[in-house]
């Protein structure tokens, strides 16, 4: 993926560049808001990573202007302001995701990759998801693996759907809590892990190949 990072703190920018670079992405960094907006408009990037506090043009304004000018590149806000209100503000002006500083490198990579996927995914409306021999029919809400029918609770269905839509990508625990449960707090106990292990028991336990992998220190990845 080609990612444009708009971040004025050089050390932070270098860290982001390194993290995304190691994950195999092509990163370009701009240090101010005005230049960032120009770059975002003149070139086709796969994702924008925008700091909220920027010289010359604040991140909120940048994304708002970019969207008003017809820009569709998915954008992720990075911010030291992590309150729910700030997050809502960010999403309201047209950002697609919001990540509070400090963040784990895996979290950033996972979220940026989810952004890239979102764009290609949203175009043709999908009715069936498929990862290896695991299939999900979004209309009849049936899940099968090979010839075996798998019964899922509504929440498990939602969880699996999210994992399947982001197949091959690492998704973090906070991403799951945000996207599947719609909560924005940091659970101290392993609530998400337990839901994952229940899901795993249903989709992987009886089968030879394990689709749902744990990515150490980061989260989970569903992969054939």
């Amino acid at each position: 993926m080609r990612v444009l990072v708009i971040e004025d703190d050089r050390e932070h920018a270098e860290f982001i560049e390194k993290v995304l670079g190691e994950a195999g992405h092509d990163v370009e960094t701009i240090e101010d808001g005005v230049g960032g907006l120009t770059r975002a408009r003149e070139d086709q990037f796969d994702a924008l990573v925008v700091d909220r506090m920027l010289p010359e043009k604040p991140g909120l304004q940048l994304v708002e202007e970019f969207r008003n000018g017809g820009g569709t590149t998915p954008a992720l806000f990075l911010s030291a302001l992590s309150d729910v209100d700030n997050r809502v503000e960010g999403l309201k002006v047209g950002a697609d995701d919001y990540l509070a500083k400090p963040f784990a490198p895996e979290e950033l990579v996972a979220r940026v990759e989810a952004l890239g996927r979102r764009q290609t995914n949203s175009e043709p409306p999908v009715t069936k998801l498929k990862v290896g021999d695991l299939e999900m029919d979004l209309l009849s809400r049936k899940v099968t693996r090979g010839d075996t029918r798998i019964d899922l609770q509504p929440r498990e269905f939602k969880l699996l759907e999210y994992l399947m839509r982001h197949a091959g990508q690492t998704v973090t625990r906070t991403m799951l809590l945000e996207k599947v449960w719609n909560y924005h707090f940091d659970p101290q106990t392993n609530v998400i892990d337990v839901h994952i292990s229940r899901l795993r028991a249903k989709i992987d336990k009886e089968f030879e190949s394990q689709l749902l992998q744990t990515v150490r220190g980061a989260g989970y990845c569903l992969q054939a």
């Binding site: 729910v84 209100d85 909560y183 229940r198």
Partner: protein
Amino acid sequence: MKPGPFAFVKTTTFRLALVYSILFALFSAGLLAYLFQATVGAMRVDAKTRLESEFQTLAVAWNTGGPTRLEQSLLERSLVRVRDFTYQFEAADGQIIVGDMPRMPVEPLSEYSVPRPVTFEVERPISDGSPLITTIEGRIVRLGDDSVLLVGIKMDERIRQVSRVTRAVATAAPIGFILALLGGFFSARYAARRAEALTRTAEAVEAGDLSTRAPVIGSGDEFDRLAERLNAMLAKVETLMAATKQAGDSIAHDLRSPLSRLRNRLEAKLRGPIDEVTARDTLGETVEEVDRVLATFNAILRLSRVNEGAEGKMMRLDLSELAEEMAELFEPACEEAGLTFTSDIERGLEIRGDRALLAQAIANLLDNAVKYTPPGESITFRAFRHDGRVAITVEDTGPGIPEKDLERVKTRFVRLDDARTQAGSGLGLAMVEAVAQLHGGELILATGKEGRGLRTTVSFPRDK
């Protein structure tokens, strides 16, 4: 600048009072002038009308019967004299035909039949010998045979009344002005004093004493209302300042120790031999420790924002639904920890609240229960109506908390000895309490039903 005893002279209130006094004086003067005009003027007009009609009557007598008839009329009038009138009728040679006065006091016009209005004074001795001066208004006319007729109306009584009114006016006007000025003076001084009290409060606040309050004397006037508003504002500012200060203190105290620990550990490692493995371990530990510090830092900031009421988007929400979701979220984790999880959630519990904060608070309570309850025990999660309020309880059958510590654990960073080995910031219950208070509710910790375990209750006012 120390205000002198006459500082109020400079105040706007005093100036307004002065202007008011002057306006009052002008108004009084205008009113009195009108009164004067209305009384004295009316009297004059009345006298003139009567004089005119008397004169006309005599003119008719002259026209119909000549000098003889006029003389007769005058004589008749002298007998049944209307007290106010005075007559003088002289022949062409100056001989008095009918008359009250020894001689004609004024000269008539030389033309015939053109009456001239005249005013003159007559001096007459009264009983004690002193002269009495009478003012008379009249009409004098030269008649066809060169005789002269003067008809006058005595203005004495009228003039006395007029001068009485004039004197009253002259006396009352300055008194009114002085009273108005005095009134203005005192009200200005009162207002200046009340304003001065507010100024002193503001000065004290400016000097850094946020606990100062403006005096409220209970009169309920604008100054009282202003003082009340000012006090309410000061109370709010004081709370915010205290919250900010507490956050600052917390950051200073409670982040300093983990950071010092971290620093010491790094320094100790630096002194020893470093190979790739130890370096990697140390860096790994360091990152974990820094993450913890950052998490604590975030929790402190968030907590102080909730405490000062800055965060929170209140809207009507279904607490039952939220509780169901949280139960569903935590149930597997409880089972995984070997705990029996029971939830009993009443339907349709509506409150005004912030969904994210409430979720955080419930999660903190459930987190605690899962962390501190040993396997084999149970957790009961309930949401119900109680005494017109809505309550959420999380009850476990674990070891509980000694009675003496029940209040203390709500405080920031208080972690009981048993809990120190567990991960956690020590801010969980402080956060729950802050969220409860933001919603007008409270957090109550109690020992469980059978004398063991811990029951945490958050109760909220219901949305009406």
